[in-house]
Symmetry: C2
Amino acid sequence: LIFILQALLSCAVFTSAQAPQLNLLPMPTSVKLGTGQLTIDKSFAVALDGFDDQDLDKTIDRFLLQLSRQTGIPLGARAQTKASSPTLVIHAQHGRKATQELQEDESYQLTVMQAGTELTAPNSLGVLRGLQTFLQLIGPTPNGFAAPEVTITDGPRFPWRGLLIDMCRHFIPLDVLERNVDAMAAVKLNVLHLHLSDDEGFRMESKKFPKLTGEGSGGLYYTQAEMREFIAYAHDRGIRVVPEFDMPGHSRSWFLGYPELASAPGPYQLVSSVEPVMDPTQEKTYKFLDEFIGEMAGLFPDAYFHIGGDEVDGQQWNANPKIQNFIRAHGMKNNQDLQAYFNQRLQKIVSKHHKIMVGWDEVLHPALPKSIVVQSWRGQQSLAVAAKGGYRGLLSYGYYLDLMWPAWRHYAIEPLSGDAANLSAEEKSRILGGEACMWTELVTPENIDNRIWPRLAAIAERLWSPASIQDPQSMYRRLDELNWHLELLGLTQRTGEIEMLHQMLGSDDISSLLALADVVEPVKDYVRLDTVKINDSSLPLNHLVDAVSPESDVARNFRTLVETYISGGYKDQNAALQIRERLARWRDNDAVLHPALEESFLLREAEPLSQNLSSVAAVGLASLDSLEKSEIPPEAWRTQQLSILSSARSPTAMLLLMIVDPVQELVMATTGSK
Amino acid sequence: LIFILQALLSCAVFTSAQAPQLNLLPMPTSVKLGTGQLTIDKSFAVALDGFDDQDLDKTIDRFLLQLSRQTGIPLGARAQTKASSPTLVIHAQHGRKATQELQEDESYQLTVMQAGTELTAPNSLGVLRGLQTFLQLIGPTPNGFAAPEVTITDGPRFPWRGLLIDMCRHFIPLDVLERNVDAMAAVKLNVLHLHLSDDEGFRMESKKFPKLTGEGSGGLYYTQAEMREFIAYAHDRGIRVVPEFDMPGHSRSWFLGYPELASAPGPYQLVSSVEPVMDPTQEKTYKFLDEFIGEMAGLFPDAYFHIGGDEVDGQQWNANPKIQNFIRAHGMKNNQDLQAYFNQRLQKIVSKHHKIMVGWDEVLHPALPKSIVVQSWRGQQSLAVAAKGGYRGLLSYGYYLDLMWPAWRHYAIEPLSGDAANLSAEEKSRILGGEACMWTELVTPENIDNRIWPRLAAIAERLWSPASIQDPQSMYRRLDELNWHLELLGLTQRTGEIEMLHQMLGSDDISSLLALADVVEPVKDYVRLDTVKINDSSLPLNHLVDAVSPESDVARNFRTLVETYISGGYKDQNAALQIRERLARWRDNDAVLHPALEESFLLREAEPLSQNLSSVAAVGLASLDSLEKSEIPPEAWRTQQLSILSSARSPTAMLLLMIVDPVQELVMATTGSK
């Protein structure tokens, strides 16, 4: 046992030691770094010496285009060749499945040598993954663009690594989905889960039931032709598209066109506080769903089909005597039993159309076959119960991107921890992976990239890389590098923020607004959503809180700097200088920014925030003065400073000032004791 | 006469006085500002009370989408209504032409009142222009998004206001053209001239002659279906698409597939220093062109058809005895006469296919009919000669965006100046306007937005607004504001630069590189192009010079600050403080940047530039010290400083350091005399 522990430890040390040199994210299973490097210039050429098909040729074309964008070296189709001295030789043993399968092999081996690179994989899906690793290795060096000599053996830890996007609360156009698919592929995610129907909108065209989008979408939906093209786009990049149609709850949008499916007579409206539910007691509901699911099963090739099943509001069922009679007549105890009955019927329909049913925690019920997959928003305990019961599961608890958590917090969420840690190996194997969730009540096409990236990449690493890869510092360093790579792919998480700041300031010079925006974060969890009574997509999301990044890199780096200074016993002059410069800039920012905030109704709410930044920075400067002079100020002074910080800590304009904590560390350090 | 002059003067003064309050670009013919404002919120609605058709409905949908992006207020199709209290009432008397015509009325009148806005125009083309003005009026105010009360009467000064894009030297994909069309529409330009063939590539699919692109495009061309869609896209935005196929010179790419058209036997290659020319002495050349132009005339609906005709290299003609015999046999004096003969034959073909021929200066010849249009790269003198001869003309001289001139220099180029100023009114009316030219020898899809914008907007104002609108300061103020509006339209002139800087630094933190990039400009005119021997699009354009903006806003603002400080007799403490802050930052930048430059082969060439920035800033700080202390340093000191500046003035890495001149002003000010 001690040997194993030692082996594990030395492995972790090895990885951690190599990490500063390579910007790989997710970190591969095994990385052996050499000393030389492979130069990338306009003679770059790719050759295939194993399996070859049109899919693989397209993959290589896309890879060359991406390499071209990344280096500025024009590499046309001519770079794909069977030439005698190719820079990159790809050997796949066979092709991919026409419809990507769960558990399809994604492993690869990449050997970069001075003379050239070899990428081998059992199939062309592994090639896709390996090419992304190769792209991450390439950067400018003193001797040209190059990749370091390295031998990488890699494969995913979990077979299901996904992102859910909710296009119901706010519609997300396909071009936005496409650029997010590009970014998902860059971090080796493999499932995009489309939350296609909910109370607020029905987003997928049905030809059999045209009123679903005709009445229930406000004109915002995907046509079947568009969706087919999008699925092919995602497939090209190694990403499965799993559709979700949420039922029997979260289904108001269905009832605008088909009120007869609901448990109470309509009419229904998209913007409303009513949460109607399907009537599971009438046969016509199942007849409708059979036809609808049959149609969708033909459109979406993936083997899995998500039926939602979460948060069923029992009010309509309670209020409908016919439904209550049905419950009693069938010997059911309550609404939960009724939902289980519905799910059994639904599962048979899904299965009849050759799909495997996926649902949220609530669908778990002994009456359902072991083939279904449970997606858990509740946590590892719920997953463990499912796995023990023989069901497969996915973790989403802890991966909700709309909660505005920092990346390290998502990063620390381990699917096989808590109750799941005590499962048998076989039970553990039923935990297929996880899915991050991007619910869009407060998210629009303008800021969705900013809400997803780069934090999703930390979750991608958790699901792909060995469990031993856990160092948040290394993760953040690699995340920062990845972030601009993603902008090169067309993502807008940083440029979009800048455009929004311009828009709300109505002016060209946003520097002082950006200085404020860079040190604040949106309030966490559901604090903001709880203030919005009705989910109405016509609510403008054009405030500062909508623009700023969920996590402040500037504040994070400032905190590191302060901690370095304090832990070094206040001797690090360079750290002190940098801290002082930043604090001085923050202290003086409000004088410039304040008049501009006055001029915009959108920004006036941020005035106290800007003032707080100034006062907190002043507190920091005073503390730094004391520390540099080795003075210990009186306790009363400290109390006063802490009270300033305490009031600056309360949310203003739904934003948190993120330099308060590190400044408090400076104040506390003035006591002289450590 | 005095009354008229007074009226003109007071009008100019009025415009100039109002300018600081309105960010309109181009400035309308007449602007009368009121005192109230119209609020824009989610109740915003548009109504049509005059002519209505599908085209106008689409126009309004696009307007609403743009307003939505600009404000963050979701405005769906529901905002287009015949409601009782619309925010904007549009009255057009009739529709647009199915193919937009030169001289088609673009005028409109816009009246913004607190209670609502009226936009009236003779036709829906004027509505397009007026909506762009309305969008520019809207911004955040203390009381919400709003437009000021204003009455605007507007129409263009010149009917042909264009941009040429060269897609031969570097291929420019259609999505890049589309976003540029959006930006052109925002500044009321109305012609996109596509330079579709040149030595380096043939970019338009011909079904009759498939080898034109099959052999002559390297796979980079537009299909006819794509072009039809693109023309419709441009038409929707009020922009004519004029195709150019350059002949008989600049035509190497034709000869890869059809060497029999050339004046010497092939074979030919795309990348080459040979400049072959068509053989105008053989009938098969005209038979080919008749069929080709017939096909293209069917594809491009515009009435005008550009045949190039510039810079014919006579070498092949001189070397071919058959051609020289032809010249003698037909009583011609020289190659120019032969080209005139070719153009006459060509003009008949173009005319037979119901198009009006356009060509560069060189086509002007008395043998050609007055219907042709001459595009002048040579200047107003050439235009004046054409106009006197009864020909219509377009100015491109002075509007070459590839020369990297600052916006004010383009802005000062007046089509009706020089020899053209002395023309009669009738002759002047033959000068139709102008076209900016974006030649792409050193331009790629990555940096083309940066090369075109925002400078093109200054040319757009010159061609649309009254000649009296001339204040460069006002222009720059409005240009700065426009710049971020353009990024909202999807342009990348600023974000693209940032991505390229990341790419060449290979690192997340580009702040010190950006500080350098912000104060340099690419060398002007053909200095850089002259160093590239053969025009080869496989040459990587990934250096600092390729990323930075053609004009440094930071240096321009710094110069203004220095001039304010000097002209105020060194008393403006605030200006002095700002100058000092900037100089100190620049002085200290190299210490941080230098090690990073060392790490990238692309950036090592910029090391002396970064050092120069530091030395020049130090000179500036020393001068500022003297000025603040009212000391007059010895002449020898000044000589030494000027010598530092002099050596920092020479181009480094094809870049110019733009703070040298304002720092020199500080040095010179230390003499004490003014």
